[in-house]
Structure formats: C-alpha cells, structure tokens
C-alpha cells in the first residue's frame, strides 16, 4: 500500500528531514510512526499527502508512483486518501454535517447520496445527533471525531493521521484510537503519527520509530522484543 525507497527530503537551508528512508506498509496494516519531534514523522505524512515532494527516492502509494502525479492531479490523488489532523482543520462557518459532507461535495456526489453517506460516517464516530451543530459548540474530542468522519466519508483505502490525539486527554485518545482500529478491522490501511508512546505501546500494532529522519527501530510483526519497550519521548 505504501512503499518508500531511499526517500530523502531536504528542506531549503539544508536540513534533511528524512534520510534514505525505506519502508513498506502492506494493505490492511495499522502502523504507528513515532519519534521525537523533528524526527521526520510529519514530513513522512506530508510526502504521502503530496503536501511536500521528496528530494530523492521513490514513493509509491496504492500502486501510484507519486513522482508521476502532476500538480493538477494532486486533488484527485488526495480524494483517495483520508487525512486526519491534530488541529482537526474543520471549517467553522459550517455545521457538522456540512463539514463531513465536504469531500463528497467536492467530488460532485448527488445530494441524496451525500446525505446517506455523511450520516453513515457521523454514525460511525457516534455524532449522528450533532449534525446540525456548529463545530465551535463541540468539545475537542468531538471535533476530532468530526474530522475523522470527514476523512472516512469518501471511503478511502488509506487513512493517514498526524498526531490525531495530540490535544486530547488519555481517555479520549484511547477512544479515538479504538475508532481507528474499527476502520482497520474493515480493511482500511492506517498510518498514524503519534508521540503518545504509552497509548501506542498498549495497542500492540506495528510501530515505526524515526530518529533524525532515519529508521531507528521497528516493533510489531516479528520485531525484536527489546523494541517493544516504549522509549520515553516528548
């Protein structure tokens, strides 16, 4: 599903956010990316979302070589992946339903179909009865669930999340992670960047640890037992 081959990302100024990173994520996997801030987690997700382009190396997502995706075709590419952000990125002048429906509006889906699918997505995150409310009136955890509903409403095969629980307390964070697991159960591939090591360690999924833009370790799937100890980080 995701294939990185010697990917390097150098920002103007000479800072290498990722250095010769090689990585494979299979279809249907749920993977956590951890590491200190500045380790390259966000850069990795930005490359996957085509917010940034790699300086060197090859990136293939869902059988599509990202170097071949032209600027014009970026929107179409992004419609096939769901994105969840730390700050939710909701539109505050629209109600919950309109926020969730936006990806479908963008693709020109019929009105009835939009209503059906947006409500199904809201139902999955448990916010069906809040559809008329404005995002401001919701708690931070609820806002994040709206963001997640928006990410899944287009039925993406891949969901990427950048610190989705960064602003939430442990209980709500676990709730959100359980929600992600449910999507994983129905076949969605997930890549979640997080530094909430306690939470992640308890969930037992594959973990990729980045350090200075390089692969520093890996747990889950036959990874050595020493790596299962959660290293403390910020």
């Amino acid at each position: 599903m995701i294939h990185l081959d010697n990917v390097t990302k150098r920002y103007p100024g000479g800072h290498d956010a990722l250095q010769r990173l090689t990585l494979d994520v299979d279809m249907g996997e749920m993977v956590f990316v951890t590491g200190h801030s500045g380790a390259g987690k966000s850069t990795l997700l930005k490359l996957l979302a085509l917010i940034e382009r790699p300086t060197r190396g090859r990136l293939v997502v869902n059988n599509e070589d990202l170097s071949r995706v032209s600027r014009r075709r970026i929107p179409r590419y992004r419609r096939d992946i769901g994105m969840v952000f730390q700050d939710h990125k909701l539109l505050f002048d629209r109600n919950v339903f309109e926020n969730v429906a936006l990806p479908l509006v963008i693709t020109g889906t019929g009105t009835r179909e939009i209503g059906r699918r947006a409500r199904a997505a809201l139902d999955q995150v448990g916010l069906l009865r809040r559809e008329k409310q404005m995002p401001e009136t919701l708690s931070s955890g609820e806002q994040q669930r709206v963001g997640i509903a928006r990410a899944i409403v287009g039925r993406p095969k891949l969901l990427i999340a950048d610190e989705p629980t960064g602003n939430l307390d442990p209980e709500l964070s676990l709730e959100i992670m359980r929600l992600f697991e449910r999507f994983n159960d129905v076949g969605v591939t997930l890549m979640i960047a997080s530094h909430d090591l306690h939470l992640i360690a308890g969930m037992g999924h594959r973990r990729i640890v980045l350090e200075n833009g390089m692969l520093a370790g890996e747990t889950g799937r036959g990874a050595p037992a020493w790596a299962r100890e959660a290293p403390r980080g910020d």
């Binding site: 963008i106 020109g108 019929g110």
Partner: protein, 312 residues
C-alpha cells in the same frame, strides 16, 4: 468551474453551482456595508461612461432631427420689401432643385424672437426692426453636395441676397464633435472598466486572504482549483451585477433630476424634446459588462493569489 461530475450527473452539478451562487450571495449579504460600498464604487465607474453615452445619444437624436432638413436660410437685404420677397420666394420655389421655400417676414421673425429670446423689452426700445426678411429654402437634391453647392452659389449671387447660411453646416460640426466625444467616452469606458477589474480583484484578493485556512483545508481534502475558485468567481459576478444594477439606478435618478431642466431648455427652443433613458438592450449591456468585469476581476485575483495558498 468545469469540475465534471463523477457521480450525480449534470443535475447535481448544476445544483451545486446554484448552491455556490446562493452561498456566495448570502456571504456578501452578511457584510452589507462593505458589499454596498464595493458595489457603489463599481456602480459609479459603470454609470459614468453609461451616462456620457446617454448624453451623446440624446444629443445625436436632437441633431438627427435637423440633419434631414438641409435648409438654407437666405437673409435678404434690408432694402428688399415684403412683397418683393414673396415674389422672389415664388421664383426660387419654381426651380427644379428646390423643394420648398418658406417665407419668414421680418415682422414674424421679430415677434418670434421677442417671444423666445426673452429680450422682448430691449427689442421694444428699437425704432426699427433690425431683422431682415428671410427665405428658408429646402433643396430637392438633399444629399448631393455638388448640386447643393451650386444652388447655394446661385442664391448667394442674387442681388437681393445679403447672406446665405447653410443650416446644416453646424449640424455637421456638431456631429463631428459627437463622434469625437464618443471616442473619448470609449477610452474612458475602457479605463474605468480596468478600474472595475482592479476594484473587484482587490476585494476578492482580501476575501481569499481572509479565507486562507478554508482554502488550505479544502485543498487538503482534494478540492480542485476550480472548486475552490468557484465561490470567489460567483462573488465577483454578484459584485458586478449588483454594481450594474446600482449604476442603472444612478442613471435613472440622474435623468429624473435633469428632466425638468431639459424640458425647460427644450421649450425655450420651441421643441418638445425630452431626454430618453437607456433602453432595455443598453441596460442589459451595462449589467452584462458589470457581470463580465466582476467575473474576470475575481478570476484574475483567484488565479494570482490562490496558487500561492498551499498546505504546509
């Protein structure tokens, strides 16, 4: 604006446009003061050339009535009496190249002049009528400049003639002046049109900056450039149409304010002339130009500024 429907068909696509147009309109309505000011600026820039056009159009209508009558005024010598003048009129009228001769006696001319000029009392003070007997000669060869020139020469050479005035000479000058004015108006209109584009472009640019976060989010979830641009294009369109409507209102009010003054002036000239306003086609043109400039201005701003707004 050509984001083809992937599902939902043309109907849904059209519906989406209608919805975008409506939401753009309600967004403008939610800031009534700034919207009204922007529309007023656009209206004034549109009304100015349109109003000038209207002035020229009316002036042309006025002179159009004179143009058909290529009349000579033949002013006779003071010594030529009224009977003599009438005889002369008969002789001239019998010419093949003359259609009609109207005799205006010196007394008639004076009475008329007293009535219309407002100098009645001053003229009463004169012992003698200073005005000559006059023949107004209408040639039968209208449009043929050579024959008219010949007729004019023969009339001038008559011993009774003091002065021959071709009444259309000034009409031609007047029309030439109108042509010049039309060209000036055209240049003004083009410049003011550019001003409208700049005004709308700047308004939309600010709007884009204010909605920067929203643009970033919609880009992140896969919105095409066309989709993101659409509400701004509709906003520009509404600004243009609104400005056009206000411009038409400004013109109508100006006409209403000047109507009685024009009527008084016309009556002083013994004319029933009244100002005509913009007809429906001209009104639609004002609206159409406003709409186009609005759309183009916002498209221009969107193309320039949207590109720089990318998620980081």
């Amino acid at each position: 604006m050509t984001d083809r429907p992937r599902s939902g068909g043309i109907g849904a696509w059209l519906l989406r446009h209608v919805e975008t147009a409506k939401s753009s309109l309600s967004r403008l309505a939610s800031q009534p003061l700034s919207t009204a000011l922007t529309m007023l600026v656009i209206a004034i820039t549109l009304a100015l050339p349109a109003g000038l056009h209207l002035a020229v159009k009316n002036a042309a209508q006025l002179s159009g009535g004179w143009e058909s009558a290529v009349d000579f005024s033949v002013y006779l010598n003071q010594g030529v009496g009224e009977d003599e003048a009438r005889t002369l009129a008969g002789i001239i009228e019998s010419r093949a190249d003359v259609e009609q001769v109207v005799f205006i006696s010196a007394d008639e001319a004076l009475t008329e002049f007293k009535r219309d000029s407002g100098f009645g009392d001053a003229l009463d003070a004169l012992d003698e009528n200073p005005l000559p007997n006059t023949l107004v000669v209408r040639p039968a060869v209208a449009g043929n400049d050579a024959l008219i020139g010949l007729l004019r020469e023969e009339l001038t050479n008559l011993p009774e003639t003091d002065l021959v005035q071709l009444d259309t000479a000034w009409v031609q000058r007047f029309n030439a002046a109108l042509d010049l004015l039309r060209r000036v108006i055209l240049i003004t209109a083009v410049l003011l049109g550019a001003a409208v584009i700049i005004v709308i472009g700047n308004t939309i640019r600010l709007d884009i900056q204010n909605r920067r976060d929203e643009i970033v989010v919609t880009k992140l979830i896969g919105a095409s450039a066309g989709f993101i641009r659409r509400p701004f294009l509709y906003a520009g369109l509404w600004y243009g149409i609104g400005g056009g409507l206000v411009a038409l209102a400004l013109i109508a009010v100006s006409l209403w304010l000047t109507a009685d003054a024009v009527a008084r002036l016309a009556s002083l000239y013994g004319s029933g002339f009244g100002l005509s306003g913009l007809d429906w086609r001209e009104s639609l043109t004002v609206l159409g130009i406003g709409a186009f400039l609005g759309w183009f201005g916002s498209w221009f701003a969107a193309a320039r500024h949207m590109r720089r707004i990318e998620p980081r």
